[in-house]
């Protein structure tokens, strides 16, 4: 059962991720990106990371994608017109990409733990929000506060950048 779910959601995620890159209309790309994030959240759940899966749906498929769609519709972007292709750049990009795929496949295959099945957990089917909260507020309390400052700074930065006249 888990195997079937893993392959279904993996193929769904990779296909919709490819659609993000291939669609010419930005709105279609954004909708494919929502599907990618939802399939990725399902993959997190197959890895027993329930809290991360929920956060993925709320933050990425919810907040971030609303922001993307809002900006696409604010700027009123149409489908890209076809332009003369830069053959050298295209060939270079595909060469880099092919090399990267070969490299990453080789690295994953040569990893000693690659063929390992996941060990069984002591407890299954429980909420892991409690354990993540304990880790977050004890071992990672200072980074958590720094992230809060980062969010404040980025909010101020966005307000500054959105002013009518930039000085």
């Amino acid at each position: 059962m888990l195997t079937i779910l893993f392959w279904v959601f993996s193929v769904l995620m990779l296909a919709s991720a490819a659609a993000v890159v291939l669609f010419r209309n930005p709105v279609n790309s954004a909708m494919s990106l929502v599907l990618t994030f939802l399939a990725l959240a399902a993959l997190f759940v197959t890895l027993d990371a329930f809290f991360i899966g929920v956060i993925q749906v709320l933050v990425y498929a919810g907040a971030v994608m609303v922001l993307f769609l809002f900006i696409i519709m604010l700027l009123d972007l149409k489908a890209e017109t076809r332009r003369r292709l830069n053959i050298a750049a295209l060939a270079g990009g595909i060469a880099v990409l092919g090399g990267f795929v070969v490299l990453i496949t080789h690295v994953v295959k040569s990893l000693p733990a690659s063929a390992d099945h996941f060990p069984t957990l002591a407890r299954t089917g429980y909420s892991d929000a409690y354990d993540i909260g304990m880790t977050l507020f004890s071992d990672f309390n200072l980074p958590f506060q720094i992230i809060g400052v980062l969010l404040l700074v980025s909010t101020i930065g966005v307000v500054f950048l959105s002013r009518r006249s930039l000085r």
């Binding site: 490819a18 990425y60 907040a63 295209l90 990409l97 795929v101 354990d131």
Partner: protein, 106 residues
């Protein structure tokens, strides 16, 4: 049962698709979406390693999941700032096509 290698391979392919978008597309917003794909690929491999490296209590390694939580937070902040920059750029130049933005090109 899917192995650790399966998850890492899927994560690597997702990263490659994101890299393809950054290298081959010419629309700033699509490039930005591809960056998000690459960040999510990193998250997937982190969660897979968290499930693989079970602690002495028989639970997943929550340190990795906290790192994923931080990555999601930073990515959300990055999206907000990046889109504000794109809007400011669009106001100035009325384009999001990278080939039209060549003032700093050598």
């Amino acid at each position: 049962m899917p192995t650790l290698g399966d998850y890492l391979l899927v994560s690597g392919l997702l990263f490659s698709i994101g890299l393809a978008g950054v290298l081959l597309r010419r629309n700033l917003l699509i490039i930005f979406m591809s960056l998000e794909l690459m960040l999510n690929a990193a998250n997937l491999s982190l969660v897979a390693f968290a499930r693989h490296g079970v602690t002495a209590f028989g639970l997943p390694d929550y340190n990795a999941q906290v790192l994923v939580f931080f990555i999601i937070t930073v990515a959300a902040a990055e999206v907000a700032v990046g889109l504000a920059i794109i809007v400011a750029l669009y106001r100035l130049r009325q384009t999001t096509h990278v080939e039209d933005l060549n003032r700093m090109k050598f």
